[in-house]
């Protein structure tokens, strides 16, 4: 799960200052692990250095730090590439997958494409496992089946999410 991509995704909705970004991140993805300020600023400065975000002036008012950041074209491209690259099929992907779907929706991109790409990647892996199972002995079969059932669980979650995508979109973009 890349914090950088997540922050970039959040910035797509419009320029924000660091505190705002942390709050938005925590609200959406940080239920059990809220971000430290330090993490936010080190990540932002890395993104700034790489030209993915840019300075958008200082907001007037009190408070510790009022510098606002905006996403650059390079940043948008980077988010896009990240979203369209399926995660390597492996157990316990939900967290990443979930973030991707939410961000795709937030940024107005189709979450369906994310799901389809992921399903395709999962199925490729499952085909390989199915083939190995057909050729292997019982132990192989059991191992393959273990992996197959976990991958299937991911996909079922994906299907369910896909079925609820409208509901989710309404909730996320509110």
């Amino acid at each position: 799960m890349s914090i950088g991509h997540a922050l970039l995704g959040l910035l797509e909705g419009g320029p924000r200052h660091g505190y705002d970004l942390k709050r938005a991140y925590d609200e959406r993805f940080g239920q059990d692990r809220p971000l430290h300020y330090g993490q936010v600023y080190s990540t932002l400065s890395r993104l700034l250095k790489n030209g993915l975000v840019t300075d958008a002036g200082v907001e007037a008012g009190d408070g510790p730090e009022r510098k606002r950041y905006a996403i650059t074209d390079a940043g948008v491209t980077d988010v896009e590439r990240w979203l369209s690259t399926p995660e390597k099929p492996e157990p316990y992907l939900q967290n990443t997958l979930y973030s991707k779907v939410v961000l795709a929706l937030l940024s107005g991109r189709g979450a369906t494409e994310v799901l389809d790409a992921q399903r395709s990647a999962h199925l490729t892996a499952m085909r390989e496992l199915t083939r190995r199972k057909a050729d292997g002995d019982l132990a192989d079969q059991l191992i393959c089946d273990f992996a197959l059932f976990h991958l299937e669980a991911d996909l079922r979650w994906l299907e369910l999410t896909a079925a609820r995508i409208d509901q989710l979109a309404a909730e996320v973009t509110r």
Partner: protein, 224 residues
């Protein structure tokens, strides 16, 4: 080289739109999984592809024949000779014995009963259910029944087998077995398989998948 090619299929049932501009291509000998949530139009797509029901709009080509332009009896004949079918359940004639069920399509094509039943027995043996040949479908287990159905689908040497949730009523183990036998037999005879399923583990027996959503087919490979 495409074996079945459908373009711009539309089909409505009353106010419900089941197909809304679906495209799909099936090549000879490949196993294609049609996936999608319930009500997405998977089965309707399969029915249109197989010439069971004509679409409201669009064309379905089988080799160089336009299925949508054929009459009912011509399509029946095509389905009987070129296609094979496996459904979720209830496709075997309950009054006939298993071997008679498998021999039925051959007999309808004019094969003598003895010959037809011998061929049927061979297929039952290949699918490891020759033990229930003389029993009626009601006396067999669900897995055995589906294997008999697969034997019936394969007995005429079809070019395409259409399978609509063939493991839908089976447990995991029987489902795996049926899928393995179906795809192996199809690959051995060079038949293409169009497999409608919502289960990823079943779809994993395919070569590629086509996702149907809201009546549109997303042919992952051909779209690229």
């Amino acid at each position: 080289m495409s074996l079945v090619k459908a373009e711009g299929l539309f089909k409505s049932f009353g106010k419900t739109r089941a197909l809304d501009g679906a495209d799909i291509t099936i090549r000879a000998g490949e196993v294609v999984a049609i996936m999608g949530p319930s009500g997405s139009g998977k089965s309707t797509l399969l029915h249109c592809l197989a010439g069971i029901m004509p679409p409201d709009k669009g064309t379905v080509m089988y080799r160089d024949q336009d299925l949508t332009a054929m009459g009912d009896s011509a399509r029946s004949e095509l389905r009987r000779t070129e296609f094979g079918f496996v459904f979720q359940f209830g496709q075997l004639v309950p009054e006939l014995t298993c071997v008679e069920n498998v021999a039925l399509p051959l007999r309808l094509s004019g094969v003598k009963r003895k010959q037809a039943e011998r061929a049927a027995l061979d297929w039952l043996a290949k699918l490891e259910v020759d033990t229930v040949a003389d029993q009626r479908p009601g006396e067999t287990s669900g897995g055995q029944g589906q294997r008999v159905a697969i034997a019936r689908a394969l007995v005429t040497g079809p070019k395409v087998i259409f399978a609509d949730e063939p493991t839908g009523a089976l447990d995991s183990l029987n489902g795996e077995r049926v899928m393995h036998l179906l795809t192996t037999a199809a690959r051995d005879t060079g038949a293409a398989v169009v497999l409608v399923t919502h289960e990823a583990r079943v779809a994993a027996y395919s070569d590629r998948e086509v996702v149907v959503r809201d009546g549109r087919a997303r042919d992952v490979e051909f779209a690229r």
